[in-house]
């Protein structure tokens, strides 16, 4: 395969791998999830996507998870979903910035043009490694029930201890987008 075609197809493969197969996706509005460094100084919940047994999906900030309910703060207010009705809960704690890893992979794959005919070997190495790396990294901040116990997802909640009894639930406000 020729050099430019090889790289061209490689880039397509990389994009396809990362976008279609690889990276974990969520429905958080753009900019809502903070990068890891910023998230370590904040105390919001992660972005939750809850699908109940009827197939209805609720998206918003994970406020709390307790023994009988999951609390999600949507744009319409606080939604309480009984645990027995939760079919799937996907929560993302922070922005993994996996896209920058994909960009790194693209740069690396493009850079193999300086390897001469050895790009026949170095570009697949870049494509495969960066696709796997970006996909794996995008999953770092994400947990999914029922793959893990629901109780373990409370670490991504605004109130990991549960909603305090003294808190007026009507006063809860969503995080402003950065």
């Amino acid at each position: 395969m020729s050099a430019s075609n090889y790289i061209g197809r490689g880039l397509l493969c990389l994009l396809a791998s990362v976008l279609v197969l690889g990276c974990a996706r969520n429905t958080a509005p753009s900019g809502w999830l903070s990068p890891a460094a910023e998230a370590s100084h904040e105390a919001y919940g992660g972005w939750a996507m809850v699908r109940d047994s009827a197939g209805t999906q609720t998206d918003g900030e994970l406020i709390a998870v307790n023994r009988d309910s999951v609390y999600v703060l949507t744009t319409g207010g606080l939604v309480v979903i009984p645990v027995r009705r939760v079919a799937k809960l996907n929560v993302t704690g922070y922005n993994s910035a996996a896209g920058t890893l994909a960009l790194w992979g693209l740069a690396g794959t493009l850079g193999t043009i300086s390897h001469g005919w050895l790009l026949l070997f170095s570009s697949p190495a870049w494509i495969i490694t960066s696709s796997i790396a970006a996909a794996a990294h995008s999953r770092e901040p994400r947990e999914i029930y029922p793959d893990v116990e629901l109780n373990k997802l409370r670490i991504y909640a605004r109130f990991p201890q549960g909603i305090p009894a003294v808190t007026d639930r009507r006063q809860l406000r969503p995080k402003a987008r950065s």
Binding site: W104, G108, Q161
Partner: protein, 516 residues
């Protein structure tokens, strides 16, 4: 597309910039929840401690400490909607804490580590290729067979034809291609910084004896073999080489170049069991190392800015220069096959080998009638120039009948290209390809797969693109020496070549394993 140090510099700089940017962004955050009664188990190395209070507020603390029933640290107090309510140094009782959360930030997660390693290797390879560009860039038209898994490189076309005046015909065996069907798709690629000018690409479908194979001699004759017999012994200066040459399997016998004279020869002695009566020959599958590529590029580098002048002289029909252009190749020579004569002296029976380090070609040397005795053969070859994959004695049955096939269809990047078909079929026209071009030639094959042997015959030439980096190597005296006194040039270049040979061979071998 422009290659060279500027491209290398830009790509390396861009790669490093993106890697630094990513390393800064793509951190990993690890959280841990700890109940207040287990505060003694808190990870003291965690940079951030979040104390989630019973009233829903949370302290986000740096330089924190939990001693006994007391929590202290610098940071912020956030309300239930996480607005900052207070900042500064705080101290409070553990009794008011609902749960602790520690946050540890890893700026070097596994994904970043993996790409960092790849970046270091990639930048190293880019720098190496910039300093030893002769190793990394360049080849001639390369041919792959589609539908043949794995799609190994099958042939290199007219590797020694580096100018219009040196246009030549090249015959390569498609020995490892086993196609059961009646169609052959041959993909021709230009993977180098070269302009390829191709007059034709024909496939020769030769007859094959039952249970045998058909081989080409260096002069282009095609002979059918009924039996192939592996050597009972193979000895060279480095020791036993029987395993390396027993089977056409990619395991090759090779040596390193002489450190004082690149034309220094070595010998490989082979013995075969007694062969049955009839005409016999020896089949050798071989390719060159990167020495010839290095020498060609070094020659161009020595010519530097006057390379055009030299090539123009060649085109003007300067017969003396044309004769000298191939001089260094003649001094390096091919793989010579020697037999003992009646006086017990080794004499040359024929030779095999063609220019090019990528595709292994299989060729036959006819040795005459079998004596009925064990066959002893000596190979004489330039040290460090040849990779011998397979050597076998062959019992020959006669010349093969040959059918010449022109492509019936040409595809460019998968799309039918009738103009390219016209150019490749019309002997007076030429198909010109540039770096990155890919053409697929489709042939209708006669007979069944077991009854035919396929060869590809190409004719043309190619023009190497000068690289900016080579101009710094310009040395008219050394360029002249290559043309006027090739033996002296090969002695003069030996130390320089030996400096890069180990790394060059290492790269070659590592890539070869991937290709297999």
């Amino acid at each position: 597309m422009r290659f060279g140090s500027s491209t290398t510099g830009r790509s390396v700089a861009f790669l490093l910039f993106v890697s630094i940017l990513t390393t800064a962004c793509a951190s990993k955050l690890t959280r841990q929840l700890v109940e207040p009664e287990s505060a003694a188990t808190l990870d003291r190395k965690a940079a951030i401690l979040k104390a989630h209070m019973l009233d829903g507020r949370v302290y986000v603390l740096r330089d924190w400490n939990v001693a006994g029933a007391r929590v202290s640290g610098d940071g912020e107090l956030l309300g239930v909607n996480r607005a900052v309510e207070n900042t500064g140094t705080f101290g409070f009782s553990i009794d008011s804490v609902a749960i602790f959360e520690t946050n540890s930030l890893s700026t070097y997660p596994p994904a970043v580590a993996a790409l960092s390693i790849l970046t270091v290797a990639s930048v190293g390879l880019a720098i190496y290729c910039a300093t030893a560009e002769k190793v990394c860039f360049g080849s001639c038209p390369t041919f792959y067979v589609e539908g043949d898994a794995p799609a190994d490189l099958q042939a290199e076309g007219f590797s020694a034809s580096v100018s219009p005046a040196l246009e030549a015909t090249d015959l390569d065996a498609l020995y490892r291609v086993e196609l059961p069907g009646d169609e052959l798709r041959l993909r021709m690629t230009n993977e180098a910084l070269e302009t390829h000018v191709v007059r034709y690409v024909d496939v020769l479908a030769a007859s094959r004896a039952e249970g045998g194979r058909t081989f080409a001699t260096r002069s282009g004759e095609l002979w059918q073999a009924t039996q192939l017999i592996e050597a009972s012994s193979c000895m060279a200066e480095q020791g036993d080489c029987r395993e390396e040459v027993a089977v056409f399997d990619g395991l090759e016998r090779y040596s390193l170049a002489d450190s004082a004279d690149l034309a220094a020869r070595e010998y490989v002695d082979l013995e075969f069991p007694a062969l049955p009566a009839g005409e016999i020959g020896i089949v050798i599958a071989a390719r060159q190392t990167l020495m010839s590529t290095y020498l060609f590029y070094q020659g161009l580098a020595f010519m530097g800015t006057s390379a055009g002048h030299w090539l123009a002289a060649l085109e003007r029909g300067d017969s003396a220069l044309k004769a000298r252009a191939g001089g260094i190749g003649q001094v390096l020579g091919r793989v010579e096959v020697l037999l003992k004569n009646e006086s017990n002296d080794w004499v040359v029976a024929g030779d095999v080998g063609e220019t090019g380090p990528l595709a292994t070609d299989v060729q036959l040397v006819r040795l005459g009638a079998s004596s009925g005795e064990p066959l002893r053969v000596r190979l004489r070859l330039t040290r460090g120039l040849w990779r011998l994959d397979w050597i076998a004695a062959a019992v020959l049955e006669g010349r093969a009948t040959v059918q010449r096939l022109s492509p019936r269809l040409v595809l460019r990047d998968g799309i039918q290209d009738d103009e390219a078909l016209r150019q490749i079929v019309d002997r007076d026209a030429k198909l010109v390809t540039l770096p990155g071009d890919v053409y697929t030639f489709v042939y209708a094959l006669p007979a069944s797969g077991a009854e035919r042997e396929l060869f590809v015959e190409t004719r043309g030439y190619y023009l190497e693109w000068m690289r900016e980096e080579w101009l710094s190597d310009e040395n008219p005296a050394s360029a002249a020496q290559i043309f006027l006194d090739p033996p002296a040039a090969l002695r003069a270049l030996a130390p320089r070549f030996k400096q890069i040979e180990p790394k060059m061979e290492e790269l070659f071998w590592s890539s070869r394993y991937v290709r297999q």
